[in-house]
Amino acid sequence: MAVLVQPNTQVIIQGATGKQGMYHAQKMLEYNVNLVAGVTPGKGGQDVCGVPVFDTVRDVKKHFHVDASMILVPPAGVLAGAVEAIENEIPLIVIITEFVPIHDSLIIKSMADQKRIRVIGPNTIGIISPGKGKVGIMPGNIYSEGNVGIISRSGTLTHEVSSNLTYKGKGQSTCVCIGGDPVKGTDFVDVLKLFREDDQTETVIMVGEIGGAGEELAAKYVMENGYPKKIVAFIAGQTAPEGKMMGHAGAIVTQGFGTAESKIRSLSEVGITVVRTLDELLKVV
């Protein structure tokens, strides 16, 4: 039945009255998403593409049940918006905005974890269960329904892999872009756990990147818990120049992982098929 987004998922957009908010409200409606409301302080009483706008999430909840919020406000407003969504107990919060300060993401993640609320992002294109719905900004036409679950740090690589699969006749169950920031609400392991229990998903694609530890942690998870489905992984940035570290602290916590080699080795060691190119990915899925 896919994960996170279902046909009946009721969605709001925080920041619906901005330029991008309006554009993507339109796109979501075209994809038959149950977009029940928008939230913009000071714009309560207006509408966006016929969808009512409220001043606060609390006001929306007086009128509608809400399953998910998509946050599309400027970076400086993300913390306040996410805190509002969390404290109003929206169970799924997708933060599209990029350039969110890391300390804001730290607070958002800690608050969400405390309240057991799922945050996706920031800096993500969101989630799509093709044919069922989306909480995201992806063009629906390049995605198609099927049995491949996708987890990707990169938005464009989510598009790329999904559209490639679509053109080869292989549909997707759910595509989850976990976002490109160092601190994110949801990481590979969290989504692997969801796909594990999902009957629609037969194969999982992990699209990783250099930097961070999410891919290594996923390998550790698979090693410790096994995994009942086929996982195929790709790591972008194999030829990218090395980044620079600040101080000793970074070196101490990193201790060698985060490179493409470290990720490829960790994933291979636990039996995950790691491909070297995106085209190879199409062949093995």
Binding site: G155, T156, A236
Partner: protein
């Protein structure tokens, strides 16, 4: 934004972390003044942002005014790992009894700030971390809760410190964590944290990096001067256009992509097919017609570039706008390099139509590999390889 040592110490002082008495100088005139006032012996420390300053000879001592003059003359203008020394910090020379390490940074595994202390501080802390990890003591910090004094004392007791030193260190540690949060730091680090012969505790160095994305609200650093970095002219142009630019040295292929992930994967693919990327421009979110056009113009100007791959998605962007940007450049510049566009997403039909009307080689449903192969072929055609 990385802070110079003396800037970090300004912040430390504000946060009640003790630092040595000292003065920053940026000219020989200032040096004379400082030399007359100084209490000898002093240490003279080059203010550079890159590491390895000590091993590169960027730190020197002076016992008197004459020596200080000599040392300043030696250091000022010297180049360390490509960075020219333009400021020196002249400080009292501490009577060091022991050196500790204290640092806070984001731990990528837990996605939490991690506090690390060690009684084995000084230059070789990375060696200690690798060879004697049990001599490092760690604590995760809760972003929702102010650090507690007693937690700091608990942690420090593990290093064996006691008495007056324990109390001073716990204050430093507490204030360093407050500093980390208050200034939205990526890293706050003291190495070495010195215990002097008289048992006072002083931060002899500072390494502070502020999250660039939070700079807009960190007033304290807004008056720290930064010279505009000497950028490659194309890089400056990209900066003005609001496009992220990564120069790769010599190469024959220019790459424009609508996101870092796809950009990196495209570079990897170019490399697989024997191409060499000259640079990589990331349009990011909100790629308008103008931004796309400017990015393309920059790439076409890059010396040695014989072909350009545009690997684009209309996601948060829109294919029609990007296509217009591309064709506008063709009209203006009339390039003789090969150009291949791979593009799909929102308004793809409109975008495709625009590109096809100008006979631009286009990948609609194909893969990035197909796009790279097509570009290689086009480049051969134009004799570019």
């Amino acid at each position: 934004m990385k802070l110079y040592e003396f800037e970090g110490k300004t912040i430390f002082r504000e946060m009640n972390i003790p630092v040595p008495k000292g003065k920053v100088i940026s000219s020989l005139d200032e040096a004379k003044e400082a030399a007359a006032e100084a209490v000898y012996p002093v240490v003279v420390k080059s203010q550079v942002l890159r590491g390895g300053r000590g091993k590169a000879g960027g730190i020197k001592f002076a016992e008197n005014e004459d020596e200080l003059g000599r040392v300043v003359n030696e250091l000022m203008g010297m180049v360390i790992s490509g960075e020219k020394i333009e400021k020196l910090l002249i400080e009292e020379k501490l009577k060091i009894s022991r050196e500790f390490y204290m640092g806070i940074t984001l731990d990528p595994k837990s996605s939490l700030p991690l506090l690390i202390i060690s009684a084995q501080g000084g230059m070789d802390i990375e060696h200690v971390a690798k060879e004697y990890p049990h001599q490092l003591f760690k604590m995760y910090l809760d972003p929702l809760k102010k650090p507690r004094q007693y937690e700091m004392i608990d942690l420090l007791l593990k290093t064996g410190v006691k008495g007056k030193v324990l109390v001073q260190m716990s204050r430093v540690l507490h204030n360093l964590t407050e500093c980390y949060f208050k200034f939205n730091a990526m890293t706050t680090e003291i190495n070495p944290l010195v215990i002097c012969e008289d048992d006072t505790v002083i931060a002899a160095d500072s390494k502070v990096e502020i999250d660039d994305l939070a700079l807009f609200r960190i007033k304290a650093v807004s008056n720290f001067e930064r010279k505009e970095e000497l950028l490659d002219p194309l890089e400056s142009e990209a900066k003005v256009a609001g496009v992220s630019y990564v120069g790769m040295g010599k190469g024959n292929i220019g790459l424009i992509s609508g996101g870092a992930g796809l950009g990196m994967a495209s570079m990897d693919m170019i490399s697989v097919h024997g191409g060499v990327s000259a640079n990589f421009l990331d349009l990011g979110g909100g790629a308008t017609t103008e931004k796309t056009a400017q990015a393309l113009k920059i790439v076409l100007k890059t010396p040695g570039v014989k072909g350009v791959l545009l690997n684009l998605f209309g996601g948060i962007n829109n294919c029609e706008h990007m296509a217009k940007g591309i064709t506008s450049v063709l009209d203006e510049v009339k390039p003789n390099q090969a150009i291949v566009v791979k593009m799909r997403g929102h308004s793809q039909d409109e975008g495709w139509a625009i590109l096809e009307s100008r006979n631009i080689p286009l990948i609609k449903h194909g893969t990035t590999e197909e796009a790279v192969v097509l570009l290689m072929r086009e480049m051969e055609k134009e004799g570019g390889m």
